[in-house]
Symmetry: C2
Subunit: 307 residues, 2 copies
Amino acid sequence: MSPVISHKSGDLVTIDYMELITNIKEMQAFSYSAKRLGKSIAFVPTMGSLHDGHTSLLKKGRELGDMLVMSIFINPVQFGPGEDFTSYPKDIKRDLALADANKVDCIFNPAADEMYPEGFQTFIEIERLSSHLCGLSRPGHFRGVATVVMKLFNIVKPDIVIFGEKDFQQTAIIKRMIIDFNMDIDIVSMPIVREEDGLAMSSRNSYLNKEERMAARCLYTAITRGRDIFNKGVKDAAVILKEVKHIIESEPLSVTEYIKICDTDTLEDLDTIEDRALLALSVKIGKTRLIDNCILQVNQEANKRGF
Amino acid sequence: MSPVISHKSGDLVTIDYMELITNIKEMQAFSYSAKRLGKSIAFVPTMGSLHDGHTSLLKKGRELGDMLVMSIFINPVQFGPGEDFTSYPKDIKRDLALADANKVDCIFNPAADEMYPEGFQTFIEIERLSSHLCGLSRPGHFRGVATVVMKLFNIVKPDIVIFGEKDFQQTAIIKRMIIDFNMDIDIVSMPIVREEDGLAMSSRNSYLNKEERMAARCLYTAITRGRDIFNKGVKDAAVILKEVKHIIESEPLSVTEYIKICDTDTLEDLDTIEDRALLALSVKIGKTRLIDNCILQVNQEANKRGF
């Protein structure tokens, strides 16, 4: 463990265990202590239920920051009615052990009413980027994400934040917020981490029963096929999408939410791919909503990111 | 003049003139230099066209901060279609002289495309507080205000910000944003400054012709009358509002936009005043929209704030 500063006494005392903070003011005091010592803070926001995708973010954070802070907070305002807020997987004990094993200095794990006390009413809207992909099927989702991330940034005061490319749109939106609001934060995005059979790691994979878990492989099969067609020189998005859709729809347990080829900056649909595009999809397997994506890029090496 | 740090050379060199900065990165560098020296920053955001209301904010800022920064920026996103964005009064030379006379260390005066480059799309919504008073007649106004203030806070990095109570709703909204987004900023609000005849100081008073300027006195007459009735023990908002309305409507050049008695925290209409309420009004005199307000409070002393 890296030594950390005791925020409780207010003294700059080296202590040898991972801090677990639930209170906003204490978290801010921890970060101020670190900054007073000239230490940079890397930050990985999570909703807990950690998997290897998260640990790849933690490893990068450990590499980039003097201090590594991870938050665990299942953010109610990013879930819509009928979504899985109440059933979202939780395993704080396992998360803390994983964080400790990954040399996290401080866990921030606030209660919902610490983050959203009575009277809370301030939200962030990122207009165009939120109107595509998951924004269409999850109205208000990215508003909730941007809002909690703004709060977390102001509480943790990171110099560097690390997000995952599986949530490509989320990462794009947070990048946009950082630029538009002139925030002095570097954002690093990390490739998708996959199971052996290609399924993108997700806390929600735990919802899948055995049969659904088998069926879920169709997402990776489909985007791989899309990438292969692109790599053979097909630039017409409709041709690629047709093939990808065919693979998803051949799986009896799947229901397509969206399958899109879009601009990697604006997330607007593309008819023809020039140099670079995002192939992104959201598919329900049974009741479980899964997302995946890959970058289609003329440079072959870039295509391998996340695979 | 207080000595300031040269942000241009990057060195900690004492210079003896007020800085004028138009570039966001330079402004951030200035603020980092100040912070590295352990200096606190007081900040007064303005749209220029300074009057004695602004100078009262500057005096307070000079008192509270080691460094005093003032912004001059006519924020396009807080003006609606048909409002006075293009005609808003400008007198940068006079503003700079006044700032210098009030010992401002640094003026931040960016161009619109420095603040809102192509692709900008991130906005702040403060839900309930924005839905009352001026929010009704100026849809999107407070969204634009909160958005630019968030940007200015991230650029100037103030420890203390000073706002005027004439824009009571604006101040309430910025206070709410600071709380909801866990920003480490102290906000101080300063009483309304008035002309000799009671008219609240406003850059927009310059729009009034001689006849309109005379007519504009009805705002102060009306709220003074409202306060007097309250002080005589009338707690029924409808009774007070009727009197206030009568005074405004007796002025031939006036058109009432709103006259309200509301809760000072939520800005929701009150039928009966318990201990404290806001009496606020917006009235057009000719084409010029003027606002004014006072606090109705059982404690007599508190009623005198802003008078």
